[in-house]
Amino acid sequence: MAYFITEDCIGCTLCARSCPVEAIAGKLKERHVINPKRCVECGVCGNVCNNAAILNSKGEKAVKIPKAEWKKPIVDKELCSACAICVHACGKDCLSISLPQFRGDIKVFAYLANEKQCVSCGLCASYCPLHAITMKGGEQK
């Protein structure tokens, strides 16, 4: 079941801008709506909402998590085959395949190139066929 936005929503657009699959629509200062067909239940909207206006798939109120505590994808370079599934799964264009270190270098791998954009949705890790990505860091203090 998809996430849901309650009438506590003040229409700040933060969730819509953060959603990695563009599943949230709504105008400024109006209640937003989640497209249940597209929602991947990553929880990003709940993590960013200042008004606790998001219900998760179990119907519970999602609690905001400070940005500093968000987990980030860490790629195991040795395991990664640079298949780029994660690069394409990322809706925020955070991941890239590394550039060759020298002419003829074919040992490249995926890495978090744009950390600021990362919303900690974990889609990359869930799609990785080799389980080479783990979401780490930002443990709750």
Partner: protein
Amino acid sequence: MKLPKYILINLASGTVSDYPISQELYEKYLGGKALAARLLFDLMPVGVKALSADNVIIINTSPMNGTGAPSSSRFNMTFKNVMTNGIASSNCGGQFGVMLKASGYDGIILKGGAESPSYIEILDGDVSIKSAEHLWGMDAEKVQEEFNPHWGKLVIGPAGENGVHYAAAVSGERVAGRCGAGAVLGAKNIKAIVAFGTNRVELYDKEKFDVYNRKFIDFLRTHPMTGNALPRYGSAGLLNNANASHALPTKNFSRGQYEKHSKITGETLADTVLTRNSGCVSCPIRCERRVMVNGKEVKGPEYETVGLFGSNIEIDDLDFINVVNFEADILGMDSISLGGTIAFAMELQEKGMADFGLHFGSKEGILEAIRDIAYGRGAAKELGLGSKLLAEKYGGKEFAVNAKGLELAAYEPRRSVGMGLGYATSNRGGCHLNGGYVALIETVGVVSVDTQTPKGKAELGIFFQNMIEAASSAGFCLFTSMAIIPGFLSQLGPAHPITRFVSKFLITVRPILGALWGMMPWVLPFNWMYLLPYTQSLKLATGMPMTSGKFLQIGERCFNTERLFNLREGLTSADDSLCDRLTKVPQDPSRADTVVPLAKMLPRYYKVRGWDKNGVPTPRKLKKLGIDIKI
């Protein structure tokens, strides 16, 4: 078992309906080109003009697409072939396939034509047909920039709009090139199809699949072909060996060696213009070349493009080939047919039979001609018809290098006679892949099977044709099948006694190879990664009972179904032919055996296939394969 979901979009009426696929059909044909061939047989009335809105296009994915299996992002387009009037299938690695599946559909069937320029939007399973008036006329790169960058896109360029017979459909920078897919979309007034969604493929046994998948990816990454040669040099890395074995088409297939070949090899490309390698989504092989064109990093050329725009027109400039490759892509044209047709036009010019202002060895006028073809301007407009129709008008049939009307890929069949047989019998026309790609074991240096003997070529060709059909239907890129040839052989090299012994052995066991098909699927009732890595993967992903024997029989069923479509459209065994240059004129005048001995090989081929003397599948064969269609 979850059945694939197909929809039928009637463009004339704007209606969308489900097109159910039965479990029986799914298990018999899997998906991709095999299932599409069967559906096309049901949906297409006989004798429809290929380049018209009445043509039916099936764009579909395969069971493995989106599962995370290696090199499995490919999608297929099947329709009536603009070049041959038989069946067409065109395969592409762009992101559209993954996104189509993520949007909720395994395949879409397009019937009829839209009244005005339109595009189809498939978002989260909702289909809408929208006006593309503002997109019409844009090149394939620009039109894709008009849509959300995260969506999967399949578009046509100006060539498709203007009915160039070999116009391609483009997804990202990857191209469904062959057979005129872009032209048919253009005839239907469809400029683009875009898809997006977040549906995930449900795996039958995720835990076991993941374990196997890791082994499969490791296998590809450690194999000398898929783990080293292809990522390092791309497909153009084959060029050096092709030249050494006189199989590099030069000057419109009149010779097999190009004296300046060292300037255009994959090795030279890697040492000079390559910026990095890349790949389709989900592919650990990463054979794609990245090169600079006009100050921008774009996709580099494949072996076929280098061969046909290099040696085959006597051009030794890689930078120029990169530009041509890029132009062909954004204008939306198949670089194989385009290159083949330009070489034919150059020979017509040289012989004084026509004047298109194009000359062997000269870059002058080529880029202008390519743009003129795409936009349907000037004298070059006629080149958009392809070499077969040009030969009907200007003559030169004996050196119009096509099979059934589709130009040959860059393997000179006179020094790779098994490939010659493959070209002639390929269902979609002069295609190396549909033709079995026997060149891989004959000339490009992986194994060194005798290139001139007709013995065993029918058996080997059929084996590879069927295997390639099955791998395509499951959704794998065909480069993964290079790993089936034991890695130590490519490390030893073609001249090593062990490689030569294996090559001889392959020819010697031909009676067994030939008899195998009568015993499928009971022979090979197991899955083994080093024999066919696909089967276990397929079994764990779908839950379908699958063995190597069953899998190969699916390939054989697909090939026969495609053949039946061709026969129903009026093609006959007379169309299993090549031009006189390849079958009658020896490449090396001092060696009479350097021709394609088609007349010797074809009867054997038909026999091993279980077809009658006229190349028609016998009722017995069809019954054995479980093909319940009659023509």
